[in-house]
Amino acid sequence: MSLTLAQVEHIAELARLALTDAEKALYREQLSAILEYAAILQRVDTSMIPPTATVLPLRNIMREDIVQPSLPIEDVLANAPDAADGCFRVTAILEG
């Protein structure tokens, strides 16, 4: 179960990571090893085990629909590298 270079590039693209050729080669190896491990797990017969979304013994944890104060705008924008008009200012994004 070895990943192709193209697959590594696709995963990097989805994660918005810019990788060097050396990194691509390295991660191809490492990610392939992880997948091999997953492949071993997949050999286990799970046909009698219901899909598990959580291992915690918790269900139906909900809050009532009550409004509480939000953060002051100074705090909201405190860590923003750039801000304008009360908004986070980011590199221009084309509508897609």
Partner: protein
């Protein structure tokens, strides 16, 4: 040229009416708020913050699912949908994937045709709950991010590919909007972004079992845009096939300004979203007792109401549908019908005078000042002959304006109809005495003069004479 069949499936997002957001206690009422003033560590995705599910959003989703005849649960799991975009601070949207709250339902739509209305059932694949994204504003060289909308609860309703024309898609959206409004689940206002629509469209030659390649059309922000975009896209696909080409699976956006669909940047496919169960939120178990309690809260829906108005109250189907269209109006009508004991007359007044005044003044039913009791009191004044219909309309307009009681207005304007036979007999006698020639002609057989005499007496009483009583007295006097 073969005849083509159109296949349409719709995906609708509707904002759920809750006070707070889906996973935090920030206000969900983002309209008109200054940017980033409804934001907290959860909805701006600060490390270490944890979401907690809003019970009201879950219950409203189940209500919508019940109204759409869905199976509810029994287990529902939230999932992360991973993608990068500046309006999505976490880098994933909390949505649902494998186990939505509601699934496998249907909705009935009515499509007008030559012989009345054709009823068609549209399958509902799923109804799930997710969170909205923030809002981006694009200025010259940058984009501005406002997170007030981030985390507002959204209902996603996906249909089967069951619609066969843009008209059916329009009918579906109309019915869905009406139901969501009735339930109080959403304002479902497309122009204000509270309801958004995406369509999957394909065409195939009639008789072909296999579906054609489907194209996804986004950015449908009004009912008009939905119909226009679908018509355009269907024509485009047929033209591609007719010229020997192949339809390519792609995401298009509707370009309202130019009236055409344009290819959008290819986004991730379902695989690329890398959905997985949200580890921060324990699953929901929807016990039957919970569903039953919610089902008991389901209001009677417009279709059922229309049928009942016709069957039980004897309304014309057109009036019944008009009154059932809006829940507030339907409830108002029923209150007036109950108070007055005369549903048909109540329906006439509401679909006539009240709608006219509401339209002119652009007033919603909730703001109408006439109480059902006062409305019924006015109807009684007419029914018992105390005022005539023309006076009643004048009084009604004043009631609409001021919310005052009809009796008070009638008294003030001196509109009370005179039914006292002695008073009216004097007026009749005076008129007959004033026009001896006409009286003679009438007695000589010119019966059409009766109505002229009636008019003269009404003028004599300044319009307040009870026409029925006047008629009787006049007939007697003219015989004389």
């Amino acid at each position: 040229m073969p005849i083509y069949e159109t296949i349409i499936g719709l995906e609708v997002h509707a904002q759920i009416l809750t006070r707070s957001k889906m996973f935090c206690a920030c206000s969900a009422d983002y309209a008109g708020a200054a940017p980033n003033t409804h934001v907290c560590p959860v909805c701006m995705a600060l490390p270490g913050s944890l979401p907690v599910i809003n019970r009201a959003a879950v219950e409203k989703t189940i209500l919508a699912g019940l109204a759409l005849h869905c199976t509810i649960g029994p287990e529902a799991v939230f999932a992360r949908k991973n993608y990068h975009y500046a309006d999505l601070p976490k880098g994933y949207q909390i949505s649902q994937y494998e186990l939505p709250l509601c699934h496998d339902g249907w909705i009935e739509i009515e499509i007008p045709n030559e012989t009345g209305n054709r009823v068609k059932r549209i399958g509902i694949t799923r109804v799930h709950l997710e969170e909205d994204t923030g809002k981006l504003t694009h200025t010259g060289g940058a984009s501005l991010v406002d997170l007030n909308r981030a985390g507002v609860p959204l209902l996603e309703i996906v249909t089967e590919p069951d619609m066969r024309s843009p008209e059916e898609a329009h009918a579906y959206l109309t019915m869905l909007q009406r139901i969501l409004r009735y339930l109080g689940v959403s304002t479902a206002d497309m122009e204000k972004g509270a309801m958004r629509c995406e369509a999957n469209v394909s065409v195939r030659p009639v008789g072909q079992a296999q579906f054609g390649t489907k194209v996804e059309v986004k950015n449908l922000n009004s009912f008009r845009a939905v119909v226009q975009a679908l018509e355009y896209e269907v024509a485009r696909q047929i033209a591609v096939l007719e010229s020997g080409g192949k339809v390519v699976q792609v995401t298009m956006g509707w370009d309202e300004a130019h009236g055409r669909t344009v290819v959008q940047r290819t986004k991730e496919s379902a695989d690329d979203y890398r959905y997985f169960p949200e580890p921060d939120l324990p699953p929901l178990v929807i016990e039957p007792a919970w569903v039953e309690a919610l089902a008991a809260r389901l209001p009677e829906l417009p279709d059922a109401k229309t049928r009942r108005f016709v069957a039980e109250l004897g309304l014309h189907p057109r009036d019944a549908a008009l009154l059932a269209e809006d829940r507030g109006i339907a409830e108002y009508f029923e209150a007036v019908a109950r108070e007055s004991g005369d549903a048909k007359t109540a329906a006439n007044w509401i679909t006539g005078e009240l709608f006219r005044l509401m339209n002119t003044a652009t007033v919603e039913i909730a703001a109408v000042k006439i109480t059902p009791a006062a409305f019924a009191a006015l109807m009684r004044l007419v029914a018992t002959g105390q005022i005539n219909l023309n006076s009643a309309k004048r009084v009604f307009a004043i009631m609409f304006e001021t919310g005052r009681s009809p009796d008070e207005i009638v008294q003030e304007l001196g509109l009370a109809q005179v039914s006292d036979a002695d008073v009216l007999a004097a007026a009749v006698a005076a008129v007959v005495a004033r026009y001896p020639d006409e009286a003679a002609k009438y007695r000589g057989g010119k019966e059409t003069l009766f109505n002229w005499f009636l008019g003269q007496v009404m003028r004599e009483t300044r319009g307040k004479g009870n026409p029925a009583v006047v008629r009787e007295l006049l007939a007697k006097a003219l015989k004389g």
